[in-house]
């Protein structure tokens, strides 16, 4: 929250309506989107070349097994395309000066060497670059000084299985330029085939009949003469390097399928080394290739262009080759000095690595620049600085994984088949180094037995990682689960201390994993030994019964913890943010996002270890906190789109279709004959214009298209280019900018579907492109103008539930400038928090709730209805109407634009062990109250706490309530403070003191609080409760002995159960899970949104959570609400279902089939679909037995036109539907 902003009386200056977000992971992206969608300019600073963060590296996500990249890439695209988010990738924050509301940030923009504006991400530079290693560059001469020619002293001849067999595939033609030849004879001596006729004092002459086109002569001819010229070499006009790469590729294609390792004496290696890299370490000799191993710079270019894999880099040098490891793939494979960070990267623009690029270090090579058709590569880039004026800062720099080498006993770094969990993610990933095949890095074999070792660099005092990383139990379970999905012969075993599956639906996931044969062993592995012969690994551990065990596995995965990188800590110091001993941000429980410096907010893993949904919640919450103080400046720095009027078309208007076939640089055009496709398009019915721009998506092409639409009076456009999912919105907006309806458009993907998948069959790829083009034109001719409904947004928020979540949201929404209706069923505000006393870090909850209540009561923008409930609700996002039943029995209608459900939960009181009948059996909350009521715990000498009393129990609450372990530890510590001689035994199943809660848990153990683990199936405690003294018998697994406890007091951790919301849920038409918690729109990325648009939730109505998490979610909900309420009007997609009432049989099929419950039967006795609620999925269209429903863009006529043009070999006028 931003109290400090409001209280800064001297700041009369209006705040700056922009926010800087540091870190482009899922946290930073979510913050940026929420802010930019709420009318603030966002500068997103990311040190990597692309946004996406750790989430982009993950394979799947728990507990839904969603593909991580699939769900995050739409976010990447949305951020990349947002007109009010400025992406500053490959950049770092240097300093932030000023104060909350008016900061000035200095950003260092590292040299990228590729122009982000010009580059379109075709990736040709990366494919063409021949360099694969970080070179040992030769010493550089001072500028102006003549370059010294390197001379090899140490030589090694590389020979193959047989002697070299010259082959002249795709031969170039070499000839001697008579004017330049200095008659030295070097070429004659170099030629191994006597193809050069030369006599002393004579001009050399090449005999084409004998020449094998190996280029030895070209290499040998001194640079100063350069008398040998090359002809018939494709791409030579660009550069020699480009020509070499081109020929290498051509020969490789020629030899595809042949596993050759003998030299074919193509000569490309020597030409590359001498003439492109200017090293001259390679020379063709009779038996093979002679390498000057002392002068080789080990760039790897020769080996990468060798068409037959004859050259092995370590053999060519006396130095240690340094492969260029792919950071995104955790170094499991290699990459080029110029590379795109990962295939779905945003921005999809490569960056040149300064350490390894030959050009940047020696001035040679330069192939990438020569082949880039967009002239996007610029070697003269330098680091620069930018200054930003911003109102607040969100710091979400993310985490790194623990360096597993620090736990030497597990052999990471030494044993090749020991990998970290993040490396294993990449091995599982379909786009990873093994394309998703689970193989051992040591030998590529498919492992059968895989072990996961938990808590590597977590819960470990010895290496200053006392905290729990919160996510490892779940990701290990997920990895084991998915590994078995990839290969069902895998036998996964997870070695763990406590199974901390404390989140929503996590326990169910672990149960499913167990059903899928994932084995769990509760033991801490002490050491790993490698069998050097097999690479197998022996794990030694002590099992639950205390006996020493050993087991052999094929592969070991270390579940490495989360930590804050040193670089982040340094930056945090620059920003003046306080951190704890581990580098996590210090924040107040009641202001969980505010860093110690006013105006700076933190979210994500830097604010304590957490999983993705919690990160997303914090990210939205931080966006809210960061913008609350800037509300006055909302909209001041954003750019709005100005559009011309849309030209109305008449139904009988002649079709005038314009076609654009994109080259995509060489991406499409190198395979598909785009000119031929464009010519073909001109023959299609209705097409009046066809062209083939180099880059259809470039800024100037877009402007060009706009002009062409006007000039040729086009009324339909079809574009054959790349993926509609990334580019269709861009092209459609171009249509709109040209004044025609944006739905008069269709797109064919001839890149992904033609050039990328059929690179070796250009003729067929061209034919296929023509067919896709034909289908696209056919579909375009059938398109209809669709209207995008626009309606006004009511700027008030309805909050149901007046607990901490509801009150926090009310206060924050008021700060954002919205009206609030706060509805509470009880007579007083406060909810469950009223029965709590202190937080884990000792903060007074009662005082906080009182203060919050005062803020709510004193705020004119908040209308409070206590003893009231919502009894009816209708409308849709931006325009709801609800009926409130007030205590007088009367009702009131209110209008509002969004709804926040915060009905909360309560402590469960199961009928167990005499709770509520015996005085000395109480819940944790009762006990907490007793601890704060002076003297009421006096006389208790011995206390037993029973965890999971009615939780994780199918007879009571089926789930884990997340907060009880921390609450028990908190209360136990408090009791020990009051009664140092008292005894506390805590009976538990798994101590789920996640995150920094682990610190208190450790403290409790050190203070002598006794923890006894039980398993309801193996050693359930036998509990007999009486009026005065209880008796508990349990076998303590740590000593393997039965113990009897006779406490004066039994404290039950009973868990949290949601309030009865059945009627509310059905009225709001939102789903709840079997426990009664509301189900979010998406478990990972939309944890605050309810599945219906405009409805949100916060607090324990979502799932059990503590007070800081509740406050964060309430703030997050306000951020999400703000993205709607800050708009004057909302525009909906035109692709919605419409019912033809004359055909409707009122059969209810659509009403029943719609997954969103949108269709209804109206008072005209016909089905009606509200376009504001329709999601455009088309399910009703397909199901309607009367064919009375249609979905714009997907009419029968569209689909039939496509199908008919697919089969027709001749362009046919597409017929309409029935």
């Amino acid at each position: 929250m931003t109290q400090h902003l409001n209280t800064t009386s001297e700041s009369v200056k209006t705040p700056t309506g922009a926010v800087m977000v540091v870190g482009g992971g899922i946290s930073g992206m979510q913050s940026a989107l929420d802010l930019a969608n709420s009318g603030f300019k966002v500068h997103l600073v990311e040190s990597s070349p692309a946004i996406g963060g750790k989430m982009a590296q993950l394979d799947k996500t728990f507990p839904t097994n969603d593909c991580s990249m699939c769900i995050v890439s739409p976010k990447l695209v949305e951020v990349g395309r947002h007109r009010n988010i400025e992406l500053l990738t490959h950049s770092e924050v240097k300093d932030v000066t000023g104060e909350a509301g008016n900061f000035k940030a200095t950003i260092i923009r590292h040299a990228r060497y590729v122009d982000t504006e010009r580059c379109n991400g075709c990736g040709l530079c990366e494919i063409t670059c021949p360099v694969t290693y970080t070179s040992w560059f030769p010493e550089q001469t001072a500028p102006g000084e003549k370059k010294k020619k390197l001379k090899a002293l140490e030589k090694r001849v590389i020979t193959g299985p047989g002697s070299p067999k010259p082959e002249s595939f795709h031969a170039w033609t070499f000839s001697v330029d008579e004017d330049k030849c200095q008659k030295c004879g070097s070429c004659h001596r170099a030629c191994l085939h006597q193809a050069i006729v030369w006599e002393k004092g004579e001009i050399a002459k090449i005999n084409p009949a004998i020449c094998t086109a190996c280029g030895a002569c070209f290499v040998a001819c001194p640079d100063k003469f350069s008398a040998i010229s090359i002809a018939d070499a494709p791409e030579l006009e660009k550069s020699l390097g480009a020509a070499i790469v081109n020929r290498s590729k051509a020969i490789k294609e020629e030899l595809a399928g042949q596993d050759r390792h003998d030299c074919i004496r193509c000569g490309l290696c020597a030409m590359m080394c001498t003439k492109v890299m200017n090293i001259g370490a390679l020379k063709m000799v009779e038996d093979g290739i002679e390498a000057g191993i002392d002068i080789c710079q080990v760039c790897g270019a020769c080996a990468s262009i060798c068409p037959v894999n004859f050259l092995d880099v370590p053999r060519l040098t006396n130095k240690e080759p340094r492969p260029l490891l792919n950071r995104f793939n955790e170094g499991l494979n290699t990459r080029k000095p110029i590379n795109i960070f990962f295939p779905q990267a945003v921005p999809r623009v490569p960056v040149i690595n300064e350490q390894s690029c030959v050009r940047l270090n020696t001035g040679e090579c330069g192939i990438c620049q020569s082949i880039c058709g967009l002239k996007a590569i610029d070697y003269t880039h330098t680091e620069s600085e930018t200054e930003l004026d911003i109102g607040s800062v969100i710091f979400s720099p993310g985490f790194e994984v623990f360096d597993a080498k620090k736990r030497g006993e597990f052999g990471y770094g030494q044993y090749k088949n020991v990998v970290t969990s993040i490396e294993f993610e990449r091995l599982l990933s379909a786009s990873g180094p093994t394309s998703g095949a689970v193989t051992r890095p040591g030998d590529g074999a498919h492992p059968k037995k895989i072990a996961w070792i938990q808590c590597v660099g977590s819960r470990d005092h010895s290496c200053n990682r006392d905290y729990c990383s919160s996510v490892c139990c779940m990701y290990a379970t997920k990895e084991a689960f998915i590994a078995r999905e990839h290969d069902s012969s895998i036998e996964p075993t997870i070695f763990y201390i406590d199974m901390r599956s404390f989140g929503k639906n996590f326990d169910d996931y672990v149960v499913r994993a167990k059903e899928k044969n994932v084995r769990y062993v509760r033991a801490m592995v002490s050491r790993v030994f490698e069998d050097p012969q097999t690479g197998n690994l022996e794990l030694r551990y002590v099992d639950g019964a205390g006996s020493k065990k050993s087991e052999v596995f094929d592969m070991v995965v270390l579940s490495v913890g989360i930590q804050i990188p040193q670089k982040t800590k340094d930056l945090a110091n620059v920003l003046g943010i306080d951190m704890d001993d581990y580098g996590f941000a210090v924040t107040d429980t009641f202001e969980p996002l505010a860093a110690s410096r006013p105006g700076i907010f933190v979210s994500g893993a830097f604010n304590g270890p957490k999983d993705i949904p919690e990160t997303v919640i914090e990210a939205s919450a931080a966006a809210q906190a960061a913008s609350a103080g800037l509300a006055a400046a909302r909209g001041s720095l954003i750019t709005k789109e100005v559009l011309p009027d849309e030209r109305a078309t008449t139904p009988d208007e002649e079709l005038r279709i314009g076609v654009f076939v994109c080259h995509c640089g060489a991406n499409i055009a190198s395979v598909v004959d785009v000119a031929a496709v464009a010519e073909y398009a001109k023959t299609l019915p209705g097409v009046v214009y066809a062209d083939h721009p180099l880059y259809t998506c470039s800024q100037d092409s877009q402007e060009g298209i706009r002009d062409i639409i006007k000039e040729h009076r086009l009324n339909r456009v079809a574009i054959a280019a790349c993926s509609p999912s990334t580019h269709e919105p861009l092209f459609m907006s171009t249509l709109r900018q040209a004044g025609i309806n944006k739905y008069f458009f269709d797109m064919a993907n001839i890149r992904d579907q033609c050039s990328w998948v059929h690179p070796t069959e250009p003729a067929l790829a061209t034919e296929k492109s023509k067919r896709l083009m034909r289908m696209s034109v056919a579909n375009a001719s059938q398109t209809r103008a669709l209207t995008e409904l626009e309606f006004d947004v009511d700027s008030s928020l309805l909050i149901i539930g007046g607990g901490v979540a509801g009150m926090t949201a009310a206060v924050e929404a008021a700060k954002q400038g919205f009206g609030v209706y706060l509805i509470e069923q009880q007579a007083t505000l406060g909810g469950m928090a009223q029965s709590l006393r202190r937080t884990g870090d000792g903060r007074d909850i009662g005082a906080f709730v009182q203060a919050l209540k005062q803020q709510v009561l004193n705020n004119d923008a908040i209308k409070i209805f206590v003893n009231s409930m919502v009894v009816d609700q209708k409308g849709f996002v931006g325009s709801f109407e609800s009926e409130i039943m007030t205590p007088s029995g009367g009702s009131r209608m209110i209008k509002h634009g969004a709804i926040l459900v915060a009905t909360g939960a309560e402590e469960a009181r199961p009928d167990l062990y005499g709770l509520d009948t015996l005085d000395k059996v109480m819940t944790q909350t009762d006990f907490e109250a007793a601890l704060y009521s002076s003297g009421s715990t006096n006389g208790y000498e011995s206390i037993v706490m029973l965890q999971c009393a009615g939780s994780r129990d199918s007879n009571h609450l089926d789930y884990c309530s997340r907060v009880c372990c921390n609450q028990a530890v908190k209360n136990a510590l408090h009791f020990k403070e009051l009664h140092p001689d008292g005894r506390v035994d805590i009976l538990y199943r798994d101590m789920r003191c996640y995150g920094l809660g682990e610190l208190n848990y450790r403290k409790a153990r050190l203070m002598g609080i006794n923890f006894i683990r039980f398993d309801p199936d193996e050693n359930p405690p036998e509990i007999m409760t009486h009026e005065h003294v209880h008796m508990i018998k349990i076998t303590d697994p740590s000593i393997g002995m039965p113990v009897t406890l006779t406490p004066d007091l039994l404290v039950l951790s009973t868990g949290i159960k949601p309030r009865d919301t059945e009627e509310l849920a059905s009225m709001l038409r939102v789903p709840r899970n079997k426990a009664g918690f509301f189900i979010e729109a998406h478990a990972k990325l939309r944890p605050v949104d309810l599945p219906s648009e405009g409805l949100f939730m916060a607090g324990t109505v979502h799932a059990p959570k503590d007070i800081a998490e509740t406050i964060a979610q309430a703030q997050a909900a306000v951020a999400r609400v703000t993205t709607i309420l800050s708009k004057k009007s909302l525009k909906l997609s035109g692709v919605v279902s419409t019912v033809d009432p004359t055909h409707c049989a009122v059969c209810l099929t659509c009403v029943r089939a719609c997954p969103y419950g949108v269709p209804f039967i109206n008072d005209q006795h016909t089905a009606e679909i509200n376009p504001a609620l329709c999601q455009g999925c088309g399910i009703c269209v397909a199901e309607c037995p009367a064919k009375a429903i249609t979905l714009g863009r997907y009419l029968d006529s569209n689909i039939l036109a496509k199908l008919e043009s697919y089969t027709g070999s001749e362009p046919a006028v597409p017929k309409g539907g029935q």
Binding site: H1143, A1145, T1149, Q1218
Partner: protein
């Protein structure tokens, strides 16, 4: 609503054997709602028939129409201008509709494309169950709203037969005993006295036993 099921495609193909030029007529009434004879089914069946006939080397031309209702003469008349141009009409309306077409188009053979089922209800999407046999003499007020004629396999009138066991009918294990349902319901309504009020006998002459029935409403003519 009148329900039905599609006839097996083989049977329809056999019927169509002599023809290569037909009208396929659907109905926007009951058969649309129970998803056997609406616009969509007309298109699906027409495509199926075209494919099947073409594959067997004997192409067929099909004109697709969907009448508002096949049980009303005005709607049927809309077909008259072209019906003579075709060799037969395949109808996927209920039996009433098909017959009415046959009556109106005397020179054109009429073929049924569905098997007409019963008067029923939609228990859930895709599942229909019989509720009424149109006996012409309703007693539902005495039987707790559950029809003994329809729900009892034997249409008994005075309680269950000996084949009722644990609430299940002996005819089929998936069929609940109608009389068990009636008695349970009467008990729940506290109307068991109705059980004794039933008529001494049921006059079946208002039902099918009295021959084809006709309703005449003088006030509407």
């Amino acid at each position: 609503m009148i329900t039905g099921t599609p006839k097996p495609i083989e049977e329809i193909l056999q019927m169509l054997e002599p023809y290569d030029n037909i009208v396929l007529a659907g109905c926007f009434g009951c058969v649309t709602v129970c998803r056997v004879g609406g616009e969509k089914e007309v298109e699906v069946l027409a495509s199926t028939l075209r494919l099947a006939r073409e594959a067997s080397g004997k192409k067929i031309t099909i004109k697709e129409v969907c009448l508002e209702r096949q049980c009303d003469p005005e709607y049927i008349e809309t077909m008259r201008p072209y019906v003579e141009d075709y060799q037969a009409v395949l109808s996927i309306a209920c039996g009433a509709g098909i017959q009415f077409l046959a009556e109106k188009f005397t020179t054109t053979p009429l073929l049924p494309g569905i098997n007409t089922g019963f008067l029923g209800v939609t228990e859930r999407q895709g599942e229909w169950a019989e509720r009424c046999q149109g006996c012409g003499d309703c007693v539902l007020h005495l039987t707790g709203g559950i029809c003994p004629v329809t729900r009892c396999a034997k249409s008994l009138f005075h309680g269950p037969c000996g084949g009722s066991a644990k609430g299940i009918c002996e005819v089929d294990k998936s069929v609940p005993c109608g009389w068990q349902l009636i008695i349970d319901r009467l008990k729940a309504l506290n109307q068991m006295d109705n059980y004794c009020k039933l008529k001494p006998y049921k006059g079946w002459n208002s039902s099918r036993d009295g021959g084809p029935r006709r309703i005449v409403r003088e006030d509407m003519i």
